[in-house]
Point group: C2
């Protein structure tokens, strides 16, 4: 299917070039799209000539030239085969062509690879200094006194039982009924969603996301070869009429969202939207992955799809990478009971026993109350930073989309006529990593937006660079 | 394809039952095999009646009954669709039907879920007490004094640079030239292989494994929907003639092996086999994943495919779960240079920044020499345990396949007429987890074999239970 699309694209874009080159490009793109996998036999010269409406001699020449360049290999007497080393999965190749500045993977790498000298208002996490350093150090010293098994053995397939019991109690606090046996620890929130994608979708399946949404969802779904469809996000959740239309038109298998504090907009799902959304999901038999990793930033708990639905068709994801440490990674999945056995099999097959130490450290921090105190202080600190960043942005014409109630993100629009990707490109030259709107927007309709991480926006140089980039 | 196979199977196995049930079973199995994905439209009644060679009324009744049981859903005017919640990926369903005792996932779970009261001569790792506990505790105390970034930030996409430099030097010691930029840290060895499978193979691709091989390879490849073909392993490596035949017949995309100390046989790859194998791989353009996680158990380094090949078509995997800690998980991939950018993208998309703390801990242990001292002591201790276990097994008629030179496994055959799966089933009733041969053997030709972990075989109760199970 993909191959066909690419093939006609090729035919179109290469109309001007010679027939031989068109045939060569078609084969190259079939290999890139992996409809021709390494070692696979190429179409016979006769058949391909017919399907391409060219002469056999044209195909012969194209095959010979592809063999000469090593793209395909000739086996005397048995025809031509796609060569082996050429087509490992390249997200860059199978994905849509995007400017670097708005390519989800590029934006992630900018932040992950940035040195200390680089300012990162575009990144998605707190500065290390905002994390509970003293408590983390105490937890490590506690771990140094743990028993041998805790320090050296694999975790159990579901993960550390006392931590799962504690997570179940925390979820109950958000109105989500999840038994500890319904909770499976994972290496991270991202790995949790990845595992669920493997569990729930096939290449070619359609997945619904918010527009805008966390940009790594796009990269992750690309890795799963999913067809991604997006629905505009409003200040109270996805646009429910367009959501209904998308269900009817695309019959998506899955909807991935964060409903706590939405990334990047900071919007909060309203109860009425949550209720209507779940009714639609029931009718369309849609599964929902609710990525709730920002839950602990909330001042007052917002409605949760998992709470309304009772973990029937909604599966919830959590993690401590945003609030505790991204170095001590530990995420979890709360899933419908009858999925757990199969999820365990999939987890063992792909990661064997999960890392136990991270779970032990998280458990220590959650148990002794230092995590609770930390996030309480964090909320206040973030609220102040939110106000300060907002106050610093407005005078230079950068306007928050809504008054964010909580969290670390301000989703802002630039003045009329400015392109966020262009501004980001210029700011990067001044060692400031921004997050331009279209990295979050499948429809590419957020070209005037930037996402600011208020915890990473204290440095005055950010705004100097920003103003320079905007006025350039 | 799969669906077709299943379909004819269904037709065969259900020949005795009614036509309506045959049609129902066919649809159910297409859904199980995911050739009919949730929400997908079922074949039209007319078309399906034709293809199944039954009357339209038979298909109508079958569809009605499937709709009544909720397997499919009828949409007035638009036909029938596969229901949504029924077909998440179930390794148990897509895999071959196996007795639990030889099901790779079941064997893994037995060991991972076993409580302290259970004896695990069948498991694949060292007892926690054999791990460098003092050094691990020291490393945790050191980590407690690390800088804020080390404790709270994401790792870089490739992973901690000083650790990669150190790994590069270690590999050089095994004759493998890998620049630090060719090494990418992963959450574990299993996750490394999983990432490479995603990178290199498509559902339906053929992958070559050893027979016997590490049983989780079977589960992992099942999760990737690969077609698995196995080649008998000899005391000096894979049977090279059968290896050549398998390449010619099945054109595999990938070969996954451990060549250091082979799991489960403990065999060592000979230089001549390594050389011939790589020549065949070159001719067939085959990529090889060399899982080298047992490297540090070697007394004298065996030939490495990665060393002979120079990381051209061989990618090497390493990990510290077996020698240092399975709780502090850290693995790595040493790959051809031109793969790294794409591997980084795939890693970010599926796990984002890797856990940094584990890498910091491993680095501390490798740097201060405590790891080297630990593995030196470990080799001696394992050699002694190997001799003791072997001496304890021979009198009861359990014979090692070869005299293992190193490592933690003894691959042994039972006396004529005994079935390892049956023995394992009985031993489990006495709380002894064994690893029966056919869990490792795709061809199912190891029904008389058991794999013993000599580090987990000190307890006399194991042999009491074993003798009882054998004489029952």
């Amino acid at each position: 299917m993909t191959a066909l699309v690419l093939e006609t694209d090729a035919a179109r874009t290469l109309a001007a070039t010679t027939l031989v080159e068109t045939v060569m490009a078609t084969i190259r793109q079939r290999i890139a799209a992996r409809s021709l996998t390494p070692g696979a036999r190429l179409p016979s010269i006769r058949a391909f000539a017919k399907s391409m409406r060219v002469s056999k001699s044209t195909v012969v020449e194209a095959y010979e030239r592809l063999a000469a360049e090593g793209t395909i290999r000739s086996r005397p007497g048995s025809g031509f085969y796609a060569a082996g080393q050429l087509a490992p999965l390249s997200l860059a190749e199978i994905g849509p062509r995007l400017d670097r500045e708005v390519d989800p993977l590029w934006v992630s790498r900018q932040s992950l690879e940035a040195g200390d000298e680089v300012l990162k208002p575009g990144c998605g996490w707190l500065p290390a200094a905002w994390m509970p350093q003293a408590a983390l150090r105490r937890a490590l010293r506690t771990a140094a006194r743990a028993d041998d098994v805790a320090l050296a053995d694999y975790g159990t397939p579901l993960g550390l039982a006392p931590l799962r019991q504690l997570l179940a109690r925390r979820m109950a606090g958000h109105g989500i009924e999840a038994a500890p046996e319904q909770i499976m620890l994972t290496e991270s929130g991202t790995q949790a969603i990845d595992l669920l994608c493997r569990f729930l979708i096939e290449p070619g399946d359609t997945v619904l996301v918010d527009d805008p949404c966390y940009f790594n969802f796009h990269a992750l779904l690309l890795a799963h070869r999913a067809k991604v469809v997006s629905v505009p996000y409003t200040p109270s959740g996805p646009d429910i009429d367009l959501f209904a239309a998308a269900l009817a038109e695309h019959r998506p298998r899955l909807y991935i969202t964060n409903s706590g504090i939405h990334n990047p907009t900071g919007a909060i799902l309203s109860p009425v939207t949550a209720h209507r959304l779940l009714k639609l999901a029931d009718q369309a038999d849609l599964t929902i992955v609710e990525d709730d990793i920002f839950a602990d930033f909330e001042h007052s708990p917002a409605p949760r799809l998992a709470a309304f639905d009772g973990l029937n068709r909604v599966v919830q994801i959590g993690s401590f990478s945003k609030t505790l440490s991204a170095s001590v990674r530990c995420g979890f999945i709360a899933a419908p009971r009858d999925w757990i056995e199969q999820l365990i099999d999939l987890k063992i097959a792909t990661t064997f026993g999960g890392g136990r130490l991270a779970a032990e450290l998280v458990l220590t921090l959650l148990k002794d109350g230092s995590y609770r105190k930390h996030v309480e202080a964090l909320r206040i600190r973030l609220a102040r930073a939110m106000a300060e960043t907002s106050a610093r942005l407005k005078p230079i014409g950068i306007t928050p989309w809504i008054e964010q109630p909580a969290g670390l993100f301000l989703w802002c629009s630039l003045p009329e006529g400015l392109d966020a990707a262009e501004v980001a490109r210029r700011a990067l030259a001044d060692s400031v990593v921004l997050a331009p709107g279209n990295a979050f927007s499948l429809s590419g309709t957020a070209s005037r937006f930037l996402r600011f991480n208020v915890a990473q926006s204290a440095d005055e140089r950010i705004f100097t660079a920003l103003e320079a980039a905007m006025s350039a």
